[in-house]
Amino acid sequence: MGAGEVDSATLQVRLLGVPAAASIVRERLRAWLDGLGWPEHEADDVVLAVHEAVSNSVEHGYDAMPAGEVVVAGDRLVDGDGQRVRVVVRDEGRWRTPRDPGYRGRGLAVMRGCMEGVDVRPGAAGTEVVLLSRPVPASRARVLPLAVTTVEVHARL
């Protein structure tokens, strides 16, 4: 993961890991990327990759346990004349080993196809998925929007 200077345009979404969480994350992430002036097709790929990570947390992270929290944290890295977003999806469950190569394998393949870097870090306390986007030209960036967007959603839908 490239060093890159981190600026303050961060995204933080914390929500209960229920199936409807994924669509809420998609909506918030899209708004954040729009605010950063991210090119549309690149934004589509980031949204799809993050969705896959959140979906995995929601579907499998909490098997046979009450839903826990899923946290999605995004920041923008500016490096020379390029910029990337890095989005970390963290849950308190365990990442399901891709027993079913079709489905899980495809979820990972989608993430890898959409991003420059995908790092799945299973841990005792939960799983962290770190997604790094492909670079887009820094000149595409608008003036920074609101510094921090924090959304907390705890509704069980």
Partner: protein, 112 residues
């Protein structure tokens, strides 16, 4: 996600609108399976789908296999150049596995 069922030139057309993801993919699969049970050729129209994830891809593979078993040919899927659908299919290399058409018109213009 909404599903409408129509008929075009002897084909049953299952038209899907909205977002196909883990929450909704099962309903799409059920609708296609039910349509296949009618004995007529089926076209799945995804040209108005705005989002498709890996659960949706898995469903497309499954209903393609169902169609092959029941009808001896893959399910015809109309996608146009609809990027939210085409992009995940291409990333995962499924354009070779799925029978993709530019439009419902195109998918229904050759005999099953």
């Amino acid at each position: 996600m909404t599903i409408h069922r129509t008929q075009v030139r002897g084909f049953v057309v299952v038209q899907v609108r909205g977002e196909v993801e883990a929450l909704t993919a099962g309903r799409l699969g059920d609708a296609v399976t039910e349509a296949l049970g009618d004995g007529r050729p089926v076209v799945l129209d995804l040209t108005d789908v705005r989002f498709l994830d890996s659960a949706g891809l898995e469903t497309l593979v499954r209903v393609t296999e169902n169609s092959e078993l029941r009808r001896g040919e893959p399910l015809r899927i109309a996608v146009d150049q609809n990027r939210p659908v085409v992009r995940p299919i291409q990333i995962t290399g499924l354009e070779e596995r799925l029978a993709l058409y530019d439009s419902v018109e195109d998918a229904t213009s050759t005999t099953a």
